[in-house]
Symmetry: C2
Subunit: 580 residues, 2 copies
């Protein structure tokens, strides 16, 4: 299926001259994740012939736990089932610097021996992670630029400048022995981005002109009609707010949204306001982006967060984290009055320049309401144009499809419902249904020169990371946490004389998360009575036959019944019987 | 401030003839709730003079717990601080039959001795609650109709037919000694509702013509531009789906959305499909609505859910609950393959005719994705016009303000951010800022003939209902549940010889929700060693001085340190020391 064209760039032409992998092999694509979005966090691509096997990995991201995944810090792709294939990996490519594409880099590089290829800003963000995992010295990092071409085994990878909500976002053209793959990465078609570098349409057209076998494309906003507005509309919204605000302006946004931070700085400059920064990740990212030249923020405009009280409110902008209502983030602390440097006062204007990530809506609303309570005016997505999405909406996706015109289409970056809708969109543009392939995480898709087949789903599920434990919290522990979180526990401790079978002390009852103990004396003393009754009964029964179930089971069952009757609740109940 | 007009209706005129309450008293309005929306769940209105005090209560609803309120079933308004004023209540008015306006009726009627005034369908829904709380025989229920007028102490209440997403939704005109109050209830201006009874604009205009002192109005959708589409658009969307579906059509909607259920039945009738019903509340509500004449669904169209396999898929519609992804609801069970009667198969079309309630987005998405996985086509709000909101959008609110033209405006039914936006909307229409009053739940607002004042917030917070317990789960228990849910617990049980101070048995370690025990042997045996070390050390120290802290504290602290170092987690740790 390999096709060539006279428009192919010289570098590619040169690389293709010694390109003798043949098209008898199998090209297998395996999206990995486990939760929610498909093909976003990690993708394994392998080309195997009878006597060779080479692979690349695209992105190594984490997923955020859903609200009912109690205590979980984050989730990494479950790659256990293919870990023995990691020896074939010749390169790891990271498309851009967001956590859902980079966050698992240390977990992956711990098992993979190959260089990482990525753009400069993304590299800066990844290095922090590798350093804190003490892997920085063992890993080779290669900085790539748009239009660079890199040969990684049988894969010739070309990097395409795209636009997203972080600079240095890359699309990928991947020449394989079976044909050219185009991977959009996270993208939108912004003609007027903040860094003034619109997507490289010419490169996209050039790739298309060679004939694209297969396209992977971002499906996040497939159900959003029209075009995603340009980042430029934010400037207008900021301008209005800066024009009118009489007091401080506090802008909360994602720490990785460097271009948005630049927009805030630009507005501050126009209105002679100084910029203070708070929130750990915001402080770190501003520092790194300034160092690498991705943020134009002169020293003279900056003011230390501890010094802001010496500056008139009208001359201040504060950049902060906390767009998702995370209780420990700087903005949430301001909203409840526990931020070290900032007390919200009437006259403050707060801009939430972000969208709620699904699952965080309640926390975000709570933060907004609390800021209002303290007298701030709050502007947020939905009531003011202070944020735009970083993903292409429906009409942009149509443009991408008609630009690239691939033979096959595999929607990625979205939940199953988005992928199905994206496949339908491709069909509505004329692609035959059988050429649109929806696969879920863990399901391999194999192309040969004769077509494709969908394989059996590999075993695996979620890999939860909790504290320093990776994967040691599984379904059983999660079920226990659910019960404990909903109903708490009750523990009964009894000490029994081995000879007389009588209780030596009164039963000790311990409980947490069940009822407010000070007001539940009656309930608890009733429970203690119940335990004594069970011990007595057990002794009587054991007198006549020795086959009764164990005393602790009997106590647990009796207490469960007693407590349910009294409270209609079912805490976890344990009885510890000490015989001495 | 009382005003009269020649257009006043005869009944009102007659009632006003003996209306001699004078305008020297104080009219106090107290919204009650505790969480999220303000003035929605319950409102207490009192008129007090030197020698009289009379009150009414409007609505008695519940709030649903947020995602981090573990184990809570629902939340009722905290009325403890005013429970001694309940003796003054002369009537309880329920505007419509949704849970957030009716769900706490039994909790309130347990303390209030006054009749309930409400419309027929609402009454049917309330009676179920009073019956299961064994209060039905003690409570007087009065059925009212639109345009009825009822005198309740100094309050003359007129009922106004409004439109919402449940039939029999009422607005209220309340004549008080200080002037006329208009309360919108939950509403939208639907010119073509399913029951063909548009809002009574003439009555609204007539109330307005008398001069309205004060308006309460629904703020839910104040940030939604334009007009909320009519329920009629649903008919068109359903028609398209019914036209195209080759297999079964499964429609999930709110059980209380009787008019939506009627629309499904109408479409089924047009396309010669039979209707089966599943899901407890759906079955109950369909039964009640048919009995009271609110649902036109002939016996001949109904088919028992247990008999559906005898009917061709093309001739079936299944009505079900589960729009919010609740794991125990019928639709969720279908999505995971555990519904008793229905296995989802390719060809099935599922319509989610509802909106996600904030906080439920994740569960809803999960359900949709799982239904797709099983081969169903799923149509949901956002991708198809299968649902419309029941609340007035921005332009409708403007119309309401210009129709009623009240002197004062108190926005209700929304979070603080919505109320602020609604007050601003009123100001943009020309109302002076000081005449728009935003108060939070628990904050009394008092009018006299000279104006108004905002009082001190009354003490009170959330009242959680968990099982049969009302209010016994407070902040301390909730904090424990949070820790238990996130990290689980570890319990150490040791038995010590009182004389030698030596351990009699090896320490027993019990844990849940912390780590997967079978794979944590090393960790646990290390913990046991640690406990033995602490006991030894304690004995040595106690030998030299008897003032060391208690052994159980020492064990707990040592284990916390040991476990954090090994896992970076902090489960709850308890040590039980038995001395024998």
């Amino acid at each position: 299926m390999t096709r060539t064209s006279s428009t192919v760039q010289p570098v590619i032409q040169q690389l293709m001259q010694n390109y003798d992998y043949g098209d008898d092999g199998e090209l297998t694509i395996l999206p990995l994740g486990g939760l929610g979005e498909i093909g976003k966090n990690m993708m394994y691509i392998e080309y195997a012939t009878d006597d060779s096997c080479d692979a690349i990995i695209i992105d190594t991201g984490i997923m955020f736990p859903e609200n009912d995944m109690l205590g979980i810090d984050y989730i990494i792709p479950d790659f256990q089932a293919i870990v023995d294939r990691f020896q074939h990996v010749r390169g790891v490519i990271i498309t851009h610097g967001h956590e859902d594409h980079t966050g698992a880099i240390a977990h992956v590089m711990d098992k993979v021996n190959a260089p990482i290829y990525t753009a400069q800003l993304t590299r800066g963000l990844i290095e922090v992670k590798l350093r804190s995992a003490r892997l920085i010295d063992q890993v080779t990092l290669v900085t790539v630029h748009p239009n660079d071409t890199v040969k990684i085994g049988p894969f010739i990878v070309e990097f395409v400048h795209m636009c997203h909500s972080i600079p240095d976002s890359l699309g990928l053209g991947i020449t394989t022995p079976l044909g050219l793959i185009f991977h959009s990465g996270d993208f939108k078609f912004d003609h007027t981005p903040v860094d003034e570098k619109p997507p490289d349409f010419a490169k996209l057209a050039e790739l298309a002109s060679r004939g694209v076998l297969l396209m992977f494309a971002d499906s996040t906003n497939v159900n959003v009609p029209g075009w995603t507005p340009s980042e430029q509309v934010i400037d207008q919204a900021f301008e209005e707010v800066f024009e009118e605000a009489e007091g401080r302006i506090i802008v909360s946004t994602f720490a990785s949204l460097i271009s948005r931070i630049q927009q805030v700085v630009n507005a501050a400059k126009r209105h002679n306001r100084k910029v203070a920064v708070t929130g750990h990740s915001m402080v770190e990212n501003v520092k790194m982006a300034r160092r690498l030249g991705y943020l134009d923020l002169p020293d003279t405009m900056m003011i230390d967060i501890g010094q802001i009280n010496r500056t008139p409110h009208k001359e201040l902008v504060i950049l902060t984290t906390g767009t998702q209502g995370e209780p420990s983030a700087a903005l949430s602390r301001m909203s409840v009055g526990t931020h070290r440097n900032i007390d919200i006062v009437p006259g403050d204007t707060v801009i939430m320049s972000a969208q709620s990530i699904p699952g965080n809506e309640e926390l975000v609303s709570r933060t907004i309401n609390k800021l209002f309570q303290r007298g701030a005016n709050v502007l947020y997505y939905g009531v003011a144009a202070v944020h735009v999405s970083g993903h292409a909406a429906r009409e942009e996706l149509k443009l991408l499809h008609n630009l690239i015109r691939p033979q096959y289409f595999v929607p990625v970056h979205g939940e199953l419902r988005h992928l199905r809708a994206h496949a339908e969109l491709a069909q509505s543009l004329g692609m035959p249904k059988k050429n649109t392939v929806v696969v879920e995480n863990g399901t391999p898709l194999t192309f040969t020169k004769d077509g494709y087949r969908v394989g059996e789903r590999i075993p695996g599920g979620y890999v939860f990371v909790d504290g320093s434990g990776v994967g040691d919290v599984g379904p059983a522990v999660m079920r226990d946490r659910e019960v404990l979180g909903a109903s708490g526990f009750v523990i009964v401790n009894v000490v029994i004389d081995e000879e007389t079978n009588e209780l030596i002390y009164d039963p000790l009852i311990l409980s947490r998360g069940f009822v407010y103990l000070r007001e539940a004396e009656e309930l608890l003393s009733g429970a203690a009575d119940e335990v004594e009754r069970v011990v007595d009964k057990h002794n009587r029964n054991n007198g006549s036959n020795g086959r009764s179930p164990s005393l602790s089971n009997e106590i647990e069952r009796a207490l469960d019944k007693y407590i349910y009757k009294a409270t209609h609740r079912r805490p976890m109940i344990f009885a510890i019987v000490n015989r001495v």
